[in-house]
């Protein structure tokens, strides 16, 4: 992929020996981007490095310490383990290695010296030599480096200062320089412009994308309208919207004015039983209404259904963005502790403090609302319209949760990515403002998307085998939000993404506007490629990590790409009897009403417009609808649904004890939670991995022995590998230390045979070598072997915890 082999390095390195080595490197034609073991991005400069540093490993990584070299470049703080394999120059660049932190992710730099802790700011000077360096990150990681006594003091101080000076606390302008540091080089631009977009997912950018979705859902009575092609009708909506087939664009145009920001009711998704999910903003009250307006609205709402429409109000019951922001910042403080005072909540107050953040309450509310909507939809043949004043926050959460619950397609990685494109990116969730990358708009900041991810995690946690994506994927997405590099999150709506691509008039424009981050006055170079979308995971993560994003074995009910829209195998007994067509009900605070004045103008004024061609909503349908909702609480008591019906929504349990804390995400940095820092090595292969390895090695051996025979090795190995990942990802247990660490080792399964060769006999086992010489015993007693009759089957830890990664392709291929 990487085309340019130009290797021009800008090195602003002070140490002379490094300079010399640099010279020798750039002199040749070597394509190596390797600097002292660190594989640099094109154009990346190493500013400082420190040798003999140990990194504290999280529980997920196996705990303990790992020795290596610490680098600070102008893009990241990188850590290269001592025994890391030599980087392969021919692979595509990956922005961040497994142990790296982007500078933009660092929120605070703290050093720990003898008996003291100090927050380091760009200007501070240290009066002591730090022993530990703590990097508090925005994504709730805390990365801890320990300086060895052998690390030269000068290096320690220098790298601390360098990090403190360059870590770029987010402020206006810093995002741009960060982007430039990461992606600004010529090679990188060239590389990016050659990237292809993932064709497996639906980007919802073109009319055909939407048509594909309509087809997938079997929503035949809807059409894609390009009435908003130039964003003239609504600035925050996407270029294409889906409306009923029978509504003409001219009729449609009259509706925009009656909705806040012109966000008219639009189709989002169709349940296989024929219910449609719509989204809209609240009505504009103070506008003169013509007779046709009501008819138009009704057309839009009832365009494809003759029966019921339920408007679900999201405004009052769900947390506001401000609530979410407050809860999240409390959660953050609780999980990370207060850095400046290094005070953390005492253990005995942990539970009540966690509760008082209300984070879990907010999740519960969102899931409950989504469950209600999913229950309404599954009854079939009605229209549910989600209404939120702005239609850009909680309706994104609820509509996408409903779809994750109800549609197996959206529980796959690509499906989920499409869903985020549809309900968040294209629907105009204000990622840019909510993330507040520039720290210039604190009022708007709210991690609504993170709340959504946590909701999905809760669903995953309760239904692990119904998801094709994994918690690893959710975690990766969670972390990526904080990296201001992706077009996905760097704009508030499609229009903004397109704005700088200046080709608004064209029928199709690439919309990943990389310009957005640029200050308005900066000259834009039209040849620059757009910023990459977050979905280009290969930019961020190596193949090992990406392999853990999905369950290799598909969930039991096979995903059906096409939901043929009118699945009605199981007519629902609770379905309200034939109702008057066109009744509109309002679901608010858990009860249904049939408002006389739902569209506010209907009751107003002269009564001329009262006469609608639809019947007035009849109250008698209310009990029927309430039964639909009760069906949910009943399901909660009766138990899980049958496995057969893939379209039954996944209704989560929402009682207090069922709401889990996403520990792998929020408690990653909780250093204080470690009682002892003994390495509990989990770097052993899982039995199934070992079996896979066995099979592979035996096959290799067979192949060696009989060179003429074709053994077709891949037939077996992939399966065994997959099973392993499945073992780890498919149960609730995957949340815990050991198995959680497992998926990472999947890719390492194919270590060269030598390194897995029978471990040394118990007596000579180097008990302390784990993780570079921390002399804590991971394993202790070599029972005199055979004493328990299992001597042979014991698995001896490898002398080196980290397996070399070379050869990793032999299995993966």
């Amino acid at each position: 992929m990487l085309t340019g082999s130009k290797t021009t390095f800008k090195v602003r390195q002070m140490l002379p020996d490094i300079k010399e080595r640099m010279l020798s490197q750039s002199g040749g034609t070597a394509r190596s981007r390797d600097m002292f073991g660190l594989r640099c991005l094109p154009g990346e400069c190493v500013l400082q490095r420190a040798l003999m540093v140990r990194k504290k490993l999280t529980a997920r990584e196996g705990r303990g310490w790992m020795s290596g070299t610490l680098f600070c470049t102008h893009f990241r703080v990188a850590f290269v383990p001592q025994d890391a394999p030599k980087p392969d120059d021919n692979t595509d660049p990956v922005l961040l290695g497994d142990h790296d932190v982007a500078l933009a992710l660092i929120e605070k730099v703290v050093v720990v010296g003898p008996n003291r802790t100090k927050l380091v700011s760009p200007n501070s000077s240290l009066k002591f030599t730090p022993e530990e360096l703590l990097l508090y990150c925005r994504d709730m990681r805390v990365i801890c480096f320990l300086f060895d006594r052998l690390t030269p003091d000068a290096q320690v101080l220098e790298i601390t200062y360098t990090i403190a000076k360059t870590y770029q606390p987010l402020k206006p302008g810093s995002v741009l320089s960060f982007q430039n540091a990461a992606l600004g080089s010529v090679e990188m631009k060239q590389f990016l412009s050659n990237r292809r977009r993932d064709a497996h997912m639906n980007w919802f950018e073109s009319a055909s994308d939407w048509e594909q979705e309509l087809e997938r859902c079997g929503a035949t009575t809807w059409r894609v309208s390009s009435v908003n092609d130039r964003f003239e009708m609504s600035t925050s909506l996407s270029r294409f919207i889906v409306v009923p087939q029978k509504v003409l664009d001219t009729e449609l145009k009259k509706s925009f004015a009656h909705f806040n920001e012109g966000r008219i009711p639009r189709w989002c998704w169709r349940h296989p039983r024929g219910s449609d999910l719509l989204r809209m903003s609240s009505f504009q009250n103070n506008i003169y209404h013509e007779k046709d307006d009501i008819r138009n609205l009704e057309m839009v709402l009832f365009g494809c259904q003759s029966s019921l429409c339920v408007v679900v109000e999201l405004g009052d019951e769900l947390p506001s963005p401000a609530d979410i922001q407050l809860a999240h910042s409390r959660l953050r403080t609780l999980c990370l502790g207060d850095v400046s005072t290094s005070v953390s909540v005492p253990d005995d107050k942990w539970l009540s403090t966690l509760e008082s953040t209300h984070w879990l309450d907010h999740i519960r509310l969102c899931l409950r609302k989504a469950s209600e909507v999913a229950c309404l939809l599954r009854s079939g043949h009605l229209t549910v319209a989600l209404q939120e004043p702005e239609d850009r926050d909680m309706s994104c959460v609820v509509s996408s949760l409903v779809q994750v619950m109800s549609d197996p397609h959206y529980r796959s990685q690509h499906g989920f990515q499409s869903l985020v494109q549809k309900e968040w990116v294209m629907a105009g969730h204000r990622f840019y403002s909510r993330n507040n990358y520039h720290r210039d708009n604190d009022k708007e900041e709210a991690p609504v998307f993170l709340l959504f991810l946590d909701c999905v995690w809760q669903l995953w946690f309760q239904f692990p085998s119904r998801f094709q994506l994994t918690a690893d994927f959710l975690l990766a997405l969670h972390d990526s939000i904080h990296l201001p590099l992706f077009s996905t999150f760097l704009a508030n709506c499609q229009r903004e993404r397109c704005k700088r691509s200046q080709n608004l008039g064209q029928s199709y424009t690439p919309v990943n506007g990389w310009r957005d981050a640029l200050p308005p006055d900066s000259p834009s170079d039209p040849s620059d490629p757009p910023l990459p979308p977050v979905w280009d995971w290969a930019l961020q993560y190596g193949a090992d990590r990406r392999a853990c994003f999905t369950q290799p074995v598909p969930p039991t009910p096979p995903l059906q790409p096409l939901l043929n829209g009118n699945l009605n195998t199981k007519p629902d007994a609770h379905r309200p009897a034939d109702s008057a067509p066109g009744s509109v009900f309002l679901l608010s605070r858990g009860s249904f009403t049939c408002p006389a004045n739902l569209p506010p103008w209907r009751s107003s004024a002269s009564g001329v417009y009262k006469k609608s061609h639809r019947r007035a909503p009849s109250t008698e349908n209310v009990p029927g609808l309430e039964r639909l909702l009760k069906a949910w609480s009943l399901t909660a008591t009766v138990g899980p649904q049958g496995p057969a019906d893939a379209y039954e929504p996944l209704l989560p349990l929402l009682m207090g004890p069922c709401m889990g804390l996403w520990r792998e995400c929020y408690l990653r940095g909780a250093l204080h939670a470690q009682a002892f820092s003994h390495p509990v090595s989990s770097n052993h292969l899982h039995p199934v991995e070992r079996l896979a390895q066995d099979v592979q090695q035996l096959k290799d051996k067979l192949a060696q022995l009989s060179p003429g025979t074709d053994l077709d090795p891949p037939a077996v190995t992939p399966e065994s590998r997959r099973t392993d990942a499945n073992l780890n990802q498919n149960t609730n247990n995957a949340t815990f230390l050991f198995s959680a660490s497992k998926p990472r080792s999947v890719g390492r399964a194919a270590a060269p045979p030598a390194s897995v060769s029978r471990a040394p006999p118990p007596s000579s086992r180097p008990g302390g070598k784990d993780f570079g010489g921390s002399n804590k015993h991971t394993f202790l007693f070599g029972h005199s072997s055979g004493a328990d009759g299992r001597g042979d089957s014991r698995y001896h830890p490898l002398p080196n915890a980290k397996l070399p990664k070379s050869n990793g392709s032999s299995l993966a291929s």
């Binding site: 253990d347 942990w350 539970l351 009540s352 966690l354 509760e355 085998s465 009766v638 138990g639 899980p640 496995p643 989560p652 009682m655 207090g656 004890p657 069922c658 909780a670 939670a673 009682a675 003994h678 509990v680 052993h684 039995p687 199934v688 896979a692 390895q693 066995d694 099979v695 090695q697 035996l698 051996k701 067979l702 022995l705 009989s706 077996v716 099973t723 073992l727 149960t731 609730n732 247990n733 815990f736 050991f738 198995s739 497992k742 045979p753 029978r758 471990a759 118990p762 015993h777 991971t778 394993f779 202790l780 007693f781 029972h783 005199s784 328990d788 299992r790 089957s793 698995y795 830890p797």
Partner: protein, 642 residues
């Protein structure tokens, strides 16, 4: 009833635990489809086959040896156990379910269980409760009805109503209940003595003290096995075989015994195979207010220290809070003063006594049954302090394990009597230190050794068949220990050979009195009552169907020490045990079923490896001329569990 049939019923037993749960609305009509395929799952982990398997009697264990008999789908009675006999039956009872409301139905009382069935609603509602779980019965009579409250030893309560029988001579069925619920108080035998199921495995053979000490390498040059307690004369609550330092003769042991509470001298529980550091357990020294000393006891502890050449220090872990230890001096007990015991360091572990633990679990029950206050759930949970107690126990065990493992120092553990907190601490630290105890058989041995043989007073703490519910000796010490084990399994999911269902099954039969394992207070009593002869061991039942209890993620980390994180941030309430009765807490997916599939998958892979190995061996044999000695296989064999 023929054997095979009853065997199946046994398979369904664990589920009976969870079934009674209430409101598991189980449909009898759809049942037999899944009946065959479903394991008995007390683990409330089934999702796929939904309501069908909630009725215990419908679960037939898929055991290849036993004939699987399809059950009639309209079967109304629970499958009775061997020698289980129906005592009473009534048609007109009402069960006041806290969740589903009042239910009319039939009650059947046997000498083992209370079975209620209501066909008021579809699917039929059933409740199946072994009488062993009854802690307390309250009868309240009005002029029209008898109201009956059953308070259980686990986290449930039941309330029944029955109209006064029209026949004045006939009594309500519930009047007969106390007689069978509390057989011991009514001069009857526990059901375990009637139950005579035969299993392929004999659980009473699982633990052999001498074999276990031999596994640990004892006797050796520093430790010997003494027979001084052969007739339980030295200490009646200790087992017959004791391990003591070599250089302390038996008559000195007697002097030490007189200085230790209830004669429970320090004896070895576990020895480190490399460093020879030991875990020893005992009761408190009888120091008293005057600070009595005992030359023999001091010498004895010195001998324990000397047995470990690696360290010149001995750690004495007193499980109690400092104040309680001081208060015990008033009662003649106390703790070792560091003046008297040279080189010993005394550490208090701050774990509270059985009364505090009982109260704490009672509060947990209040918080979870019948209803949970979602809005204040975590705060309520915190105010029970249950997790804090769990944390202190785990932290104590962790310190012990750390001293032995990292410090290579021997430790002595005691509390007051040395049979509650001490047992928890030694068994948990052994579980962390020695991977053998993390296997199914090893864990059974651990319970047999540390809990049963060393005299944890199960009869007193549980009160089998005893109507005296106010007894201050009751306490959930063992439940708490299993909870701690569960917390460990959560943190190290692949380090244990057993699964959660195994732990729940053990706790279930702690109360049911179906098996003899947890009867009586100590080894001496058990022999006197001839428990092994007259009853069936729980391990017989478990070891006869290991596949139900095996954790598919198990990796044999036998030479790893587990150091758990003992922060409340990483501890959780064991909801799948304590709240398994609540129908809305039912897990959404059948983990249990999944586990079995994974085990099968693993076996399949293992088979493939074996085949390939054979093939490789064949070929290398045939081409041996080229490669006389092919490089030794670099792969450690993997054991299979299936």
């Amino acid at each position: 009833m023929e054997k095979s049939g009853s065997f199946e019923s046994l398979g369904s037993k664990p589920s009976s635990s969870r079934q009674p749960s209430v409101d598991s609305l189980s449909s009898a009509s759809t049942s037999d489809r899944s009946a065959q395929a479903k394991p008995p799952s007390a683990l409330s982990s089934d999702s796929m086959s939904t309501s069908t398997e909630f009725s215990p009697e419908l679960r037939v264990k898929p055991k290849s040896t036993a004939k699987v008999r399809l059950r009639n789908s309209d079967k109304e009675e629970p499958q009775v156990l061997p020698n289980e006999t129906e005592q009473e039956k009534a048609q007109d009872a009402t069960y006041l379910c806290p969740i589903a409301g009042a239910l009319q139905g039939t009650v059947m009382l046997t000498n083992y269980r209370l079975f209620f069935k209501s066909i008021d609603r579809e699917p039929a509602f059933m409740l199946d409760m072994p009488l062993g779980v009854v802690r307390r019965l309250d009868i309240y009579r009005t002029h029209r009805e008898v109201s009956f409250t059953i308070i259980c030893k686990d986290t449930r309560n039941f309330q029944f109503l029955q109209k006064h029988p029209t026949d004045p001579l006939k009594k309500s069925i519930f009047e007969a209940l106390p007689k069978f619920a509390f057989p011991v108080s009514n001069g009857l035998q526990l059901f375990a003595f009637h139950y005579d199921q035969v299993f392929p495995e004999n659980g009473w053979k699982v633990y052999d003290a001498l074999a276990e000490y031999k596994r640990q390498g004892i006797p050796n040059e520093s430790w010997r096995i003494t027979k001084v307690n052969d007739r339980y004369e030295l200490c009646e609550t200790y087992p017959a075989a004791l391990v003591v330092p070599v250089n302390i003769p038996d008559d000195e042991l007697k002097k030490v015994a007189s200085f230790r509470g209830k004669g429970r001298i320090p004896v070895l529980s576990w020895i480190h195979p490399e460093s020879q550091a030991t875990v020893t357990r005992c009761s408190q020294p009888m120091v008293g207010v005057n600070g009595k000393r005992s030359k023999e006891d001091e010498k004895y502890l010195q001998a324990i220290m000397d047995a470990n050449a690696q360290s010149h220090k001995l750690f004495i872990f007193d499980a109690r809070p400092n104040v309680s230890a001081v208060a015990n001096k008033m009662k003649g007990g106390g703790f070792e003063s560091e003046d008297a015991y040279q080189n010993a360091e005394l550490v208090f572990l701050d774990i509270h006594n059985i009364h505090v633990m009982r109260e704490s679990l009672r509060k947990v029950k209040e918080a979870i049954y019948p209803n949970i206050d979602d809005a204040h759930w975590l705060a309520n949970l915190e105010s029970t302090h249950w997790l804090e107690h769990i944390k202190l126990i785990l932290a104590g065990a962790l310190r012990i394990a750390d001293k032995v493992e990292s410090g290579k120092t021997s430790v002595v553990v005691h509390c007051s009597d040395g049979w509650d907190r001490t047992t928890q601490l030694t068994s948990l630290s052994m579980l962390m230190l020695d991977g053998y105890y993390r296997t199914i058989r090893g864990f059974e041995i651990l319970i047999e050794k540390e809990w049963l043989s060393f005299g944890h007073r199960f009869q007193q703490r549980i009160g089998h068949g005893d109507k005296n519910y106010t007894d201050a000796e009751r306490s959930p010490v063992f439940v708490q220990f299993v909870d701690c084990v569960w917390q460990l399994t959560r943190q190290f999911p692949s380090a244990f050979e057993f699964n959660e269902y195994f732990l729940i099954t053990i706790l279930e039969h702690l109360f049911t009195c179906l098996f003899g394992t947890f009867l009586c207070n100590c080894e001496q009593q058990r022999l006197k009552e001839e428990i092994p002869k007259k009853t069936v061991s729980l391990w017989s039942y478990i070891n006869s169907q290991l596949e139900e209890f095996t954790n598919p993620f198990y990796v044999n980390y036998s030479n790893h020490v587990l150091f758990p994180v003992v922060s409340l941030r990483h501890l959780e309430l064991w909801t799948s045990y304590y709240i398994r009765w609540n129908p809305s807490m039912r897990p959404q997916e059948s983990v249990h079923q999944r586990y079995k599939e994974l085990l099968a998958k693993r076996a399949e892979l293992q088979k493939r490896v074996d085949e390939l190995k054979r093939e490789a061996a064949n070929r290398s044999a045939s081409s041996s001329s080229e490669r006389p000695s092919s490089p030794t296989r670099s792969v450690t064999p993997v054991q299979t569990f299936v």
